[in-house]
């Protein structure tokens, strides 16, 4: 088991962002975490990555509780630009490489060239699309066990989106790595999602294998997402 979350809850002043989330995810699969804004997806990712502490519950990654050790095997790509804006692209990559012994600088150069990101550009001057590409370089320049992608396609144009998605699934180490992806653009990544979690108001309302769900509901993941968002589906999680 790659990730095991038990009764995870997070309370922010005046509200529960997550409330009793329990799920497990296998290694080597792509898990889609879907839901509207405020459903608790980002909070869940932050807890798994170790940057936020749960109010209640536990999360284990590769059998280890979230800690310094798990941060060595998890690549977390938030929905904002996480990089130091005053650094140049290659400087940032070298800085990151120093934290991961297995980082492959040849792979970094290869990905930067493929994604058409100049190593000498200053990060603060990159467009949103370029920043999204840089996140992919970070995620796949080293053999992380788990990649957490929070809205990797948000605010970028369709051609760039296409390139980001193709990198994502070309570089994904099937069988060795897990990817958790949370996006509103479900249709763009629908074909790659193997397992799916639908979240609403801090809870999991539906979870299953994507193929089984499509078959059971007779509609696409996007269709199911819309149905849940409109409140037409009862809690089946």
């Amino acid at each position: 088991m790659l990730v095991e979350a038990r009764d995870v809850a997070k309370k922010y002043p005046g509200k529960w962002a997550l409330d009793g989330v329990t799920f497990s995810a296998d290694q080597g699969k792509v898990l889609g975490v879907l839901g509207e804004n405020g459903a608790g997806k980002s909070t869940l990712f932050r807890i798994i990555s170790g940057i936020t502490r749960p109010t209640r519950g536990t999360v284990a990654i590769a059998g280890m509780p979230v800690s310094l050790e798990t941060r060595k095997i998890v690549a977390y790509l938030p929905d904002i630009n996480p990089f130091y804006e005053w650094m140049r692209v290659m400087e940032q990559m070298e800085f990151l490489a120093s934290f991961y012994p297995e980082w492959d600088m040849n792979k970094t150069s290869e990905l930067l060239a493929f994604l058409d990101v100049s190593p000498n550009d200053r990060i603060g001057e990159l467009s949103r699309g370029q920043q999204a590409k840089l996140k992919m370089v970070y995620a796949f320049s080293w053999p992380s066990r788990l990649v957490l992608m929070d809205e990797p396609l948000g605010g970028i144009d369709p051609p760039t989106r296409k390139k980001v998605i193709s990198t994502l699934f070309h570089e994904f180490r099937y069988g060795e790595q897990g990817i958790f992806i949370c996006t509103h653009l479900v249709s763009e990544v629908e074909e790659f999602i193997e397992d799916v979690l639908y979240m609403k108001k801090g809870k999991i309302v539906l979870s299953d294998q994507a193929d089984l769900l499509r078959e059971k509901k007779g509609k696409s993941l996007t269709g199911i997402f819309e149905e849940i968002a409109e409140g037409r589906m009862r809690d089946e999680g």
């Binding site: 170790g50 940057i51 996480p82 120093s98």
Partner: protein, 242 residues
């Protein structure tokens, strides 16, 4: 290089270099005023130095506060290193700036302010003033004799350093609180710094511990600064989150 020193180097590159440029520019401007406006230099130096010396000691704690930006911490927090490393690397970068400010200000006091004051005295007594640092040394036997005699100028700089050290400690503590309590905003953090600093000063004024130039007050400042730092570090490591 360990993660800590790598982070420290990044902080120094980001904030430290800008501060050092500012420091050099400040003293260069003062130097120009000193050497080119000979008649007005006493007034100019007094006005600019006293105010600006305070400012250069305030900037490092302000830069420390600015380096803690919750919206830009996702990467640092998700990297495989202890939170304490993030915290201490930033603190140490700000402290380095403070030490740089101290040395620059101390040299400025010794080489410019002291000779200038003596120059002024000479002018009042004999109508001609031609004192500079190198002419003065023989009158005090040696460099250290000179420093000892004029140490009160140097001492103001030292006092500023210690006040700033306390300030740095308070800032590091309030920054930690921002990472513990979601509702503890940047504004509240800044307000707390101000209140704590004034409260400490007030306590000092109403207690037998002399505030200002004595060794006791420096020791108290050192202890207070370190205490705030230790609490801040503990809270950040144990409870800090985004």
């Amino acid at each position: 290089m360990s993660h800590f020193w790598r982070l420290y180097a990044q902080e120094m590159r980001n904030l430290g270099v800008r501060y050092l440029i500012f420091l050099i520019a400040y003293f260069a401007i003062n130097g120009i005023v000193y050497f080119t406006h000979i008649d007005k230099r006493i007034l100019n130096i007094t006005l600019t130095s006293s105010l600006m010396l305070v400012i250069i000691f305030i900037i490092p704690p302000v830069l420390l506060a600015l380096s803690f930006r919750k919206d830009k911490e996702h990467l640092a927090f998700s990297l495989p290193m202890r939170r304490a490393s993030i915290f201490l690397s930033r603190y140490l970068a700000a402290f380095t700036m403070l030490v740089a400010a101290f040395f620059a200000a101390a040299l400025w006091s010794i080489f410019v302010i002291v000779p200038l004051n003596l120059h002024q005295m000479e002018q009042s007594y004999i109508g001609v003033g031609h004192t500079d640092f190198f002419r003065m040394i023989p009158y005090y036997n040696d460099f250290w004799g000179f420093l000892l005699n004029e140490s009160h100028y140097f001492l103001y700089t030292k006092v500023l350093l210690f006040y700033s050290f306390v300030f740095l400690g308070i800032v590091s503590l309030t920054c930690s609180l921002r990472y513990m309590f979601r509702r503890f905003s940047e504004f509240m953090s800044n307000l707390s710094v101000l209140i704590l600093f004034i409260a400490l000063y007030w306590i000092g004024l109403h207690n037998p511990i002399p505030i200002g130039v004595g060794h006791e007050s420096m020791i108290i400042s050192l202890i207070a600064g370190l205490l705030f730092l230790a609490i801040g570090l503990f809270l950040f490591e144990k409870y800090g989150e985004l």
